[in-house]
Amino acid sequence: MEAFTTHTGRAVPLRRSNVDTDQIIPAHWLKKVTRNGFEDGLFEAWRKDENFILNAPEREGATVLVAGSDFGTGSSREHAVWALQNYGFKTVISPRYADIFRGNSLKNGLLTVVLPQETVEQLWKLTEADPTAEITVDLVAREVRAEGVTAPFELDDNARWRLLEGLDDISLTLGNEADIVAYEARRPSYKPSTVQV
């Protein structure tokens, strides 16, 4: 996984709540068997509207997505995270995320920051008024900074450490092989098995 320490970039203010994963990446894109090439599918239906904010020329190259509450609801598709990253987003800011989407994002090094609705509103106003305004997301200091905004955010120490170091969860878990073997040894025999009978 790519490490995340701090990132500064221009923003896309997305004034919508409940942005579900079917909007982020529609189902027909899910037939691909790779982790890349999803950038054109990102918000595909909404991008057909020329007034959609992502189509504004001044938003080209923006890397920080500032969205309304309950971002990433719905399907477990990790393709939603890949699509955001393939398009160029490094971080997302929202008051609340769906659990599975949040988990997926942190496993891929896409930092999903939770900030209060009022702060999101401030960031929307700032970046709507000035498309060149930059937002800094600093994971070391656990702080978001922009003109007139300094907002601390929470992320538990373990998740933060894994992101800062860009660690691979599977390698970490395999380091605890002995614990897994011990658990398997004491697992009851009545537990289900998929072996064909």
């Binding site: 004034r15 919508r16 709540s17 409940n18 579900d20 079917d22 909007q23 529609p26 189902a27 027909h28 899910l30 037939k31 691909k32 068997v33 790779t34 982790r35 239906a45 309304g68 509450s69 309950d70 609801t73 719905g74 399907s75 477990s76 598709r77 990790e78 393709h79 995270v81 609340r96 995320y97 769906a98 659990d99 599975i100 988990g103 997926n104 496993k107 609705q117 373990n158 998740a159 969860d169 599977i170 970490l172 878990t173 395999l174 605890n176 614990d179 897994i180 011990a182 658990y183 398997e184 697992r187 009851p188 025999s189 009545y190 537990k191 289900p192 098995s193 998929t194 072996v195 009978v197």
Partner: protein, 477 residues
Amino acid sequence: MGRTLAEKVWDDHVVRRVEGEPDLLFIDLHLLHEVTSPQAFDGLRMNGRKVRRTDLTIATEDHNTPTIDIDKPIADPVSRTQLETLRKNCAEFGVRLHPLGDIEQGVVHVVGPQLGLTQPGTTVVCGDSHTSTHGAFGALAFGIGTSQVEHVLATQTLPLAPFKTMAVTVEGELPDGVTAKDLILAVITRIGTGGGQGYVIEYRGSAIEQLSMEARMTVCNMSIEAGARAGMIAPDQTTFDYLEGRVHAPKGADWDAALAYWQTLRTDDDAVFDHEVRIEAAELAPFVTWGTNPGQGAPLSSSVPDPASFADPSDRIAAEKALEYMGLSAGQPLRQVKVDTVFVGSCTNGRIEDLRAAASVVEGRQVADGVRMLVVPGSVRVALQAVEEGLDKVFSAAGAEWRHAGCSMCLGMNPDQLAPGERSASTSNRNFEGRQGKGGRTHLVSPQVAAATAVLGHLASPADLSDAAGAPAFEEV
């Protein structure tokens, strides 16, 4: 202090607990399908890793599979590649697979329970958010992303952040014509699409205890639509009766040992939930959605709400956008909303009881002119059972299309899709913009409401049929 059901199952699966780290949990059952697994198998290959426990892993094909002409090559080359990739991966890594055409093929969340693999007190994961379905058995079951799929394949464990507990207590008896689907739609509208975020919901109370296993699965299935990590129902005699004798249920001494354990899986009397919601069953009614997320629902007997009536500004904006997308106006009676398509199926309502309920409504009646009704059984086994009971003939005689098993129009990854602007009454779980096809408009309903809607051509419940004898109960608008 006592523990909740969810906490008991969690504690029984902790492989490693260290202060400052997420608990590492053992996974009893890993379900796979073609859409969220290819990149995970690629990851294994790149790192030279194997599937640690092929004996706890099973795959089926469901999202992409066609529901007609299944004996012919799959027309869409991209879908075909994805299915072929799953077959190749399962063969290479030694994973049991039930492909299209196999008697055990079907929607992954229908297949697990009917094989008896989903059992009380187990941990169940799948790269699909509707894994919450399996919580109906008192399993701790949740959807995961592809990185986690790879993690479980490689280690049979998952590091998981702690959860909060919520009780949704439904007391009393559901009124006639009110189903598990109406109940869960009402719950989601009450707590919102993000209200369950971070929680494992336990559904309890006398109304829940009276539900069949199929109905319990419908309830737990849609926990994710309230944002919950999982939904659970304590196992009881209904659960044990469903499981006994199933292919993968424990046998002999193992059954006795399992049963003794399962009977301990109840929330202790002195356990405390982090949040509690109480619902009176008697107050529930047939429920439908009017908007573009599952929390935008209302009783069928009511009207499309006025966005101005929402106190929260973001709810108001969401309602305005939803009405615009749905082509509805505030104040319009929901019963006057005409549909083009009716879809009966999915992991929410594609089980035998759902098909029986829909068939009982259309029996002796005709699907309205200009309405297309698709009936897609949740699995091949469900389809065979339905055929044995003659339900396929009931549907066909009514003018509905009887199809092969799969996810079908729930998400439109196969050719079963709405055309732009088309409107459906659907027994599935999501009414998101474009979910059932680009520009399609979805109203989530129960199987009974779906069937009555098919007959009348507008959103309706079976009660509307009896007084109208099949004729439209309302003036056209």
